[in-house]
């Protein structure tokens, strides 16, 4: 059963150095507040898993939290580069960053396999690309047709972290709008933390919503605007100006460091 706790307690209790951590949210409901808490608590040597390591992972990587990144697309969507990600890969700053790079389809299959407690996911992919030589992928033969298909190792993070619109007082969680890979990220992980916009007495169920029952979640923390600068469908819009502004902040090590100090390290913990 999920406990309703503070975000700092949840992170303190569940996330340790060297953990494999997946913070998911596909362009929507990105758990920025939780990432900031990881930074404030100074986690190190994390393996960070995420399909789209955008601004949220640029911050974690730039602050030296990560040893390895497992991902499929690392850019500032609609804007351009992630300079902290690039600096880590191109110049090992602040620390070297090992990459395990997949396609979106491969990442999605790996999460689905993890959620299904299978050791690998199968897809028709990767073949004929240079990714094959640089990532964890293997080919398996269909025992019925002989076709070769790609196999990716299942994602089984130590901790899965997502942001949702609502939890109820029992710790059941509901998210809606674009629900991405969040259900799989939680179900594939050994432990999970869900930050939510609000805690309500009872859900109004929505079309195409995802409900995660309390008994598959470890910790729920109420963090209004916890997805900012991304958006929470029905609560607030994407802060597009921030994404554009991030370009200049991220480009320079010192500007980045100063910005993080002011806005995250010395920010008020949730």
């Amino acid at each position: 059963m999920a406990e309703i706790v503070s975000l700092s307690d949840a992170v303190r209790e569940l996330v340790a150095d060297e953990h494999v951590v997946a913070l998911e949210g596909f362009t929507h409901l990105i758990p920025h507040a939780a990432a900031h808490e990881l930074i404030r608590q100074g986690r190190r040597d994390l393996t960070l898993v995420r399909m789209t390591p955008d601004v949220i992972y640029d911050q974690l990587i730039g602050m030296g939290c990560a040893r390895k990144l497992v991902f499929s697309w690392g850019g500032n969507p609609g804007v351009g580069s992630l300079y902290r990600f690039r600096d880590a890969v191109e110049h090992s700053w602040p620390v070297p960053l090992e990459l395990e790079e997949h396609s979106h389809a491969g990442m999605a299959a790996a999460y689905a396999a993890g959620a299904a407690n299978l050791p690998f996911g199968v897809l028709r992919g990767y073949a004929g690309t240079d990714l094959v030589a640089h990532t964890r992928v293997a080919f398996v033969e269909c025992p019925f047709t002989g076709e070769q298909l790609a196999a990716v190792p299942a994602h089984r993070p130590d901790v899965g972290i997502i942001h949702a619109q609502q939890a109820d007082r029992q710790g059941n969680v509901q998210l809606w709008g674009i629900t991405g890979v969040q259900k799989e990220a939680v179900l594939a992980s050994r432990h999970s933390i869900v930050t939510v916009e609000e805690i309500v007495d009872e859900f109004e169920r929505r079309p195409d919503s995802v409900v995660l029952p309390s008994w598959v979640v470890d910790a729920v923390a109420c963090v209004p605007r916890g997805a900012h600068p991304s958006y929470a469908h029905g609560y607030y819009e994407r802060d597009n100006d921030f994404y554009v502004a991030w370009e200049a902040i991220s480009r320079d090590r010192d500007v980045f460091t100063a910005w993080m100090r002011e806005h995250v390290l010395e920010g008020v913990p949730a």
Binding site: R86, G106, Y111, G125, Y231, E237, R238
Partner: protein
């Protein structure tokens, strides 16, 4: 998120010569010409996998002009989205609100893309070779890159799962290369490449220049290509954007910027 716009044309490349490349035509930008040229290839029956930026502009333009039935599928999981303005990201709330249904990302890639239900997929890139193979991963060596690009995202499987790949990419020797630094996706299903200079089609396994945009010469296109560019014997000039197309396009762009 690897389509032109995010991974290639739109954002990681600085806008090179919007309008200026048109040598005085001056009434539309090269981005607009690209969007119009791509939109014309979509039909009322097309089911399109759409990225942000120019592909989204092209697909939404088609829906507002000659192909109102064209179905937009975004990899974020929105099926049949009908945005009134250009989305800021492939995961904009309006896509979910106007979609016929929203599915999970694993379902999108397994049942819908790999399922073979998508006709057209748009891709961008940093580099393309003469066979339509694309690089959106690195410039330089993978382990010690000169420039680390965003990576493949949906591209590797889009390139092999849709019937027709439409590539949108500004033409330059830096982008149109003899040899890719990294092969992110295969070119087999590339049907054509829309550039700021013209249109190339994959014929007999090699890209061939079949159209030049108004005001562009074949030599300009040759000079902007890092290999010896084949030119179709029947090469024509792209029909300039019509008044209707430009009006629809600008209405979309304006709403997107509001």
């Amino acid at each position: 998120m690897t389509r032109a716009g995010a991974g290639g044309v739109g954002s990681t490349e600085p806008p090179r010569s919007a309008g200026a490349g048109l040598a005085g035509a001056g009434t539309w930008t090269s981005d607009e010409m690209m969007a119009v040229a791509a939109s014309r290839r979509l039909t009322n029956d097309s089911v399109c996998f759409v990225g942000i930026g120019l592909p989204s502009l092209a697909a939404n333009l088609a829906r507002r002009t000659h192909a109102p039935g064209c179905v937009l599928v975004y990899e974020s999981g929105t099926i049949g989205a009908k945005p009134t303005s250009l989305p800021l990201s492939i995961g904009d709330g309006e896509l979910a609100e106007t979609a016929d249904a929203v599915v999970s990302v694993p379902e999108m890639f397994a049942y819908w893309l790999q399922g073979g239900r998508i006709d057209v997929g748009f891709l961008g890139a940093a580099q393309i070779d003469r066979h339509g193979n694309l690089n959106s991963t690195v410039i330089g060596d993978y382990a010690t890159p000169k420039v680390r690009l965003p990576g493949g995202g949906g591209a590797p499987e889009i390139a092999t799962s849709v019937s027709d790949v439409f590539v949108m990419l500004r033409q330059s020797p830096r982008a149109f290369v003899e040899r890719l630094d990294f092969k992110t996706s295969r070119g087999d299903r590339v049907r054509f490449v829309v550039t700021d200079l013209g249109i190339l089609e994959l014929r007999g396994g090699e890209l061939e220049l079949v159209r030049v945009h108004p005001g562009v010469s074949v030599d300009q296109a040759r000079e902007a290509t890092g290999w010896e560019l084949r030119v179709a014997p029947d090469i024509e000039q792209t029909e300039p954007p019509s008044r209707t197309e430009l009006a629809a396009l600008r209405a979309l762009e304006t709403k997107g910027r509001e």
